[in-house]
């Protein structure tokens, strides 16, 4: 542990072909993954996708049926949770209700036989860091949700774990507090430089906080990449759909120009797409565009920019969401499309029944069912 150089040689965490079954259910299916020292890594997926089981195997609460778990290069697959240099922030915090905040946070240090004076100092410092300084004497069951969350964080971080594991720690908080805690967690992580492994089913949260995101579904790790890559170049349909709303356009290629395909070249319709592997006229492809990439222009104001993909349609619904407004558009050729933009004067001018041109930059669209996996 004293040899600092060891940390840099090995990733903080390495999972090697880890598989876990519960009876007949395959909870985690052959997951291989490296998480670097100091990284904020999120495991993202719907409930039951295996992300929490993976986290619990990192903590030592579950033992993999196959494969190995390495912590800073050391095989900890069979090591008990109390002997691992990991600490966990539980979904429901799990503060000890019969203890004060101070004693909750001091629990790990007392076990390590840290001198009393040092415990007092470190606990008070840590309570300051997480923003609940002065609450030490409070009973743990007399805290608000947000305060409990901070104390749970302090109780784990004070042990200076090699890796901090967080199991949906913000899911019990209301939206406003959750948004604030997301930023605070991120900044605490940056200040302390501790490796965070964060489990969540909230894609926005994962994209906002993480250095890298791993997306899981049905026990399989589908893609591991930086948030931007995940969002803009999803590895497959599931990832694309899970990290945000998609407009799925099924299109028949009508013309190929080099590495670009063209559909329906006409006065009010022109759709470009990248065909990195080349393409043939007559191929049916599935193209995906995010709602915020779709621009709406009233048909009579359309200047016909030839570089933009565009199609014509009729606005069927306008959904006001506060900062954003969504528009449902029926396109003659492509069916129902969802567009989203900031609620400004232009957005307010668009009304149901209006004839519009839906346009987007060809680079913002991507093909579905392609491989393009990005696993480091």
């Amino acid at each position: 542990m004293s040899d600092v150089s060891r940390y840099t040689e090995h990733p903080a965490i390495r999972l090697d072909g880890v598989t876990k079954r519960f009876g007949a259910v395959l909870a985690v299916d052959d997951v291989t993954l490296k998480i670097e020292e100091g990284e904020f890594f999120s495991l993202l997926g719907p409930s039951g996708c295996g992300k929490t089981t993976t986290l619990r195997m990192l903590a030592g609460f579950e033992t993999p049926d196959e494969g190995s778990v390495y912590l800073r290069g050391e095989d900890v697959t069979l090591v008990q949770p109390n002997k691992r240099a990991t600490n966990m922030v539980f979904q429901n915090y799990e503060l000890f209700p019969h203890m004060t905040v101070f004693n909750n946070v001091a629990y790990g240090l007392k076990l390590k036989k840290v001198p009393k004076r040092e415990i007092t100092e470190r606990v008070n410092d840590m309570l300051e860091v997480v923003g609940v300084g002065g609450l030490g004497k409070r009973a743990a069951d007399q805290l608000s949700g947000g305060q409990q969350q901070r104390v749970a964080l302090a109780r784990a971080l004070i042990n200076r774990p090699a890796v901090l594991l967080l199991d949906e720690p913000l899911s019990a908080l209301d939206v406003k507090l959750r948004k604030r805690m997301q930023l605070e967690l991120k900044s605490i992580q940056e200040t302390l430089g501790t490796t965070f492994v964060y489990v969540t089913h909230d894609q926005e949260e994962a994209l906002l906080m993480s250095d890298r995101v791993g997306i899981m579904n049905e026990g399989v790790l589908l893609q591991v990449a930086a948030p931007r890559t995940i969002y803009e170049q999803p590895a497959d349909d599931f990832v694309a759909d899970f990290v945000g709303t998609l407009n799925e356009l099924t299109i028949r290629i009508e013309k190929v120009e080099g590495e670009r395909g063209l559909v329906a070249s006409g006065d009010q319709e022109r759709i470009w797409m990248d065909l990195p592997g080349g393409g043939t006229v007559g191929d049916i492809v599935r193209l995906a565009v995010r709602p915020e990439a779709l621009q709406l222009t009233p048909r009579r104001e359309w200047d016909g920019s030839p570089d933009l993909s565009h199609t014509s349609g009729t606005v069927s619904d306008v959904i006001y969401l506060g900062p954003f407004t969504q528009f449902l558009v029926n396109s003659e050729r492509l069916g129902r499309m969802l567009s989203q933009r900031v609620s400004d004067a232009e957005a307010a001018a668009i009304r149901p029944g209006m004839q519009v041109i839906v346009s987007w930059h060809p680079d913002t669209a991507f093909m579905l069912a392609g491989p393009a996996a990005d696993t480091r």
């Binding site: 949770p81 109390n82 539980f90 000890f96 209700p97 076990l111």
Partner: protein, 278 residues
């Protein structure tokens, strides 16, 4: 018309008042009152006569006095029985507390479906008349050669109180969040340390409450002691002996002491077990 509306204390007038009156549950409150009087009348009579200075058990009261209390607290027979009853209560609470906690912890390790079955079986003795247990015990004691004594009665008390303790402790553990133990282990605690610092302090209130309940059951018991205590007479047995000789005013005093003892135990037990919840 205008004058009355101006002077009316509240808008709406008499109609509103009548509606309010109708909503007030006068009839049901009266009915509950009758039931309560019926339930408590014997106790009230007993407590009242324990302070009556005359040995005649009839109204009107001759005067207030503590002479019956003085009499029982100087009567060595009563005092000895009182001590035996207290001893039985403490021993019963001790045995059932330990067994109840271990049993309730053990049952958590058993699969959910089997758990329901075992809980049902262990609760079944509650439905069996105490008399049957008492006779069974007496026969069993004779077979294996255990003399009738207060200790033999203690074991019997533990037997009839154990289902209560088991159920109360079991119910509290049912609500116990076992992830708390994981949290302790995650922070470096061994299984034993986690049990000692987290599980035990959290279930202890329920265990103590259940033990108080067991003590109350023991003090209250007549049947088991009648068949197994032999010459080591507990308070209820002493009272029974006196009743056979005719209603004696000291009975009211002994009864009142027992009443205070058992109800305060039961009250503390109820408080403990509800505070223990979370």
């Amino acid at each position: 018309m205008t004058a009355t509306t101006a002077s009316a204390p509240s808008p709406g007038g008499w109609r509103r008042g009548l509606a309010k009156l109708r909503r007030r549950p006068v009839a049901s409150a009266g009915f509950v009152g009758v039931v309560i009087v019926y339930l408590f009348a014997p106790l009230i009579v007993m407590v009242a006569f324990s302070f009556n200075s005359s040995p005649r058990l009839s109204f009107p009261f001759a005067g207030l006095s503590l002479r019956w209390y003085e009499e029982i607290f100087t009567d060595t027979l009563v005092l000895r029985a009182f001590r035996r009853s207290l001893q039985a209560a403490v021993v019963t609470a001790g045995i059932t507390g330990v067994l109840g906690l271990l049993g309730a912890l053990g049952i958590l390790k058993i699969a959910k479906r089997a758990r329901g079955f075992i809980l049902a079986i262990s609760a079944a003795p509650l439905a069996v008349p105490g008399l049957l247990f008492a006779i069974g015990l007496a026969i069993m004691y004779r077979q294996i050669g255990i003399e009738r004594s207060i200790w033999a009665a203690n074991l019997g008390h533990a037997l009839i109180a154990l289902p209560f303790v088991f159920l109360v402790v079991g119910a509290s553990l049912e609500r116990f969040r076992f992830t708390l133990i994981e949290a302790a282990q995650d922070l470096g605690a061994s299984r034993w340390h986690a049990f000692r610092t987290v599980t035990l302090p959290l279930v202890l209130p329920a265990v103590l409450g259940a033990m108080l309940l067991a003590a109350a059951i023991s003090i209250d018991d007549f049947v088991i002691a009648f068949f197994t205590a032999g010459q080591d007479k507990t308070l209820p047995l002493i009272m029974y002996g006196r009743v056979l000789k005719g209603i004696d005013p000291t009975l009211n005093a002994i009864g009142t002491v027992m009443l205070v003892l058992t109800t305060s135990l039961a009250f503390m037990a109820a408080r403990r077990t509800t505070i223990g919840e979370r």
